[in-house]
Point group: C2
Chain length 209, copies 2
C-alpha cells in the first residue's frame, strides 16, 4: 500500500547517514529507490517533512522504551540499568535514524523542531528523575549533581552513533553491559556497590563465570 513511502524513507536514511541531509537531493533519493519526484511529493509535503518523520520515528520509540523501563522496575538502580540497556540497544535497530537525528537536528524547521524538542526533553527528564530518586533513596552518591551526571550518561550513550557499526567487532550486548557497569560504578554509593545486590550488571557476573 504505502510501500513506496517506506522505500523512500529507507533510501533517504541510507543516503543521509552517509552524505548528510544537505549532501543528498530529492532526485538522488528517488533515483536510489526507483521512484520519481512526483512519487515523493505524493507522500511528503517537503524535504523538511521527511527529515521530521525520521526524527519522530526514533524519538518516539526511545521514549516509549524508557517509560516502559521506568514502570517495570521499582528501585532506581534497576530502572537506570534498564533505561540504559534499552537505550543502547536501540542503536542496533535505529542506527541510521539516530545518525540523522543527531547530525541534522540544526536543519529542522522551527515548527518541527518544537515537536521533537518536547519529546527529547521528556526523555532527558526521565533520566534526571531516576538519578534523583536514586539519591533520595540513598543508593546513589548524593554529591553528584543530577544534571551534569545525567548529561554525562546521555553523552556516553548518544555518542555511540559515531562509532558503532552493526556486525562490527563490538556487539551491542557487550557495549550495553560495559556502559551499565561504568555508569553504576560511578553513580552507586560505596556501600551499595559492595553489597552487590546488583551483581547482574555485566562485568562482575562475567568474572564469576
Amino acid at each position: 500500500m504505502t510501500d513506496l513511502k517506506e522505500r523512500i524513507i529507507q533510501s533517504s536514511l541510507e543516503l543521509f547517514e552517509k552524505h548528510g541531509y544537505h549532501g543528498v537531493s530529492i532526485n538522488q533519493i528517488v533515483e536510489h529507490c526507483g521512484a520519481s519526484k512526483g512519487g515523493f511529493y505524493h507522500y511528503f509535503h517537503s524535504k523538511d517533512e521527511l527529515l521530521y518523520v525520521i526524527h519522530d520515528t526514533f524519538i518516539t520509540y526511545v521514549l516509549e522504551k524508557a517509560n516502559q523501563a521506568k514502570q517495570t522496575y521499582n528501585n532506581p538502580t534497576e530502572k537506570l540499568q534498564a533505561i540504559i540497556e534499552s537505550f543502547v540497544k536501540v542503536f542496533d535497530l535505529y542506527k541510521p535514524h539516530i545518525s540523522v537525528f543527531y547530525q541534522e537536528s540544526t536543519y529542522l524547521k522551527p515548527d518541527y523542531e518544537e515537536l521533537i524538542k518536547k519529546k527529547r526533553d521528556q526523555f532527558k527528564q526521565n533520566i534526571f528523575e531516576v538519578l534523583q530518586e536514586g539519591q533520595d533513596k540513598g543508593e546513589f552518591r548524593s554529591i553528584l549533581p543530577v544534571e551534569i551526571t545525567g548529561m554525562a550518561v546521555l553523552g556516553m550513550v548518544n555518542w555511540t552513533y559515531k562509532w558503532y557499526r552493526k556486525n562490527g567487532e563490538k556487539d551491542i550486548e557487550e557495549i550495553s553491559h560495559v556502559f551499565v557497569d561504568l555508569i553504576l560504578h560511578s553513580v552507586l554509593t560505596g556501600e551499595t556497590l559492595q553489597q552487590d545486590r546488583y551483581t547482574d550488571f555485566f562485568l562482575q557476573t562475567k568474572m564469576n563465570s
Copy 2:
C-alpha cells in the same frame, strides 16, 4: 594585517553554530562581517577550505593539550585526569569550533577529511593508551575493554558541546570535576579507590571541606 580573515572565521563560526554549514551562504557570512565576496575568496580557496580551517584549529589545539598532559604526569590516573580536565576546559574556549567540528564533519571534502581524521585518531589513541597503561599497572579495573571504555569517556566529554553554555548555570570547572569523578569511579579498582591516593578529584575533596 589579516584582520579580515579573522573576522570572516569569527562570523562564520557564529553563523555555522546556529544554522549549520549548509544553512549559511558565503553572502551571509561576508555581510555579517561587513566584507565582500571578493574579500572572502582572497583568503580562502573555497567554502570547504573554511570548514577545514575551523576543524583544524580545534583538533590541533586539543591534541597538543593531551600530549602535554601525557608528558607532565607519570601515573595513568593523573594522566587520565589531566587529559579529561584539559579536554573539558577546551569547551570554554572553542565551543563554536567544536560544534561545527562535530556537526559538519560529514561535509568535509575527502582530502581535508583525511588530514583531520589523522589527528582525531591520534587523540583517541592517547586515551586508549592511558587506559591500557592503567590496567597494566593495576590501577584500573582490567575487566573493562579498553576501546569501549575509551569511547564512553570520549562520548561523555564530547557530548558537552550539545548542552554547555558559556556563562550558563553550570561552569566549566564543575563540569570538569564531575566528569573526572565519574570516570575515575568507574575505572579505578576498588582498592585504588579506597586508598584514595587521588583525593584531589573534586567531589571527595569537596566532601571533606
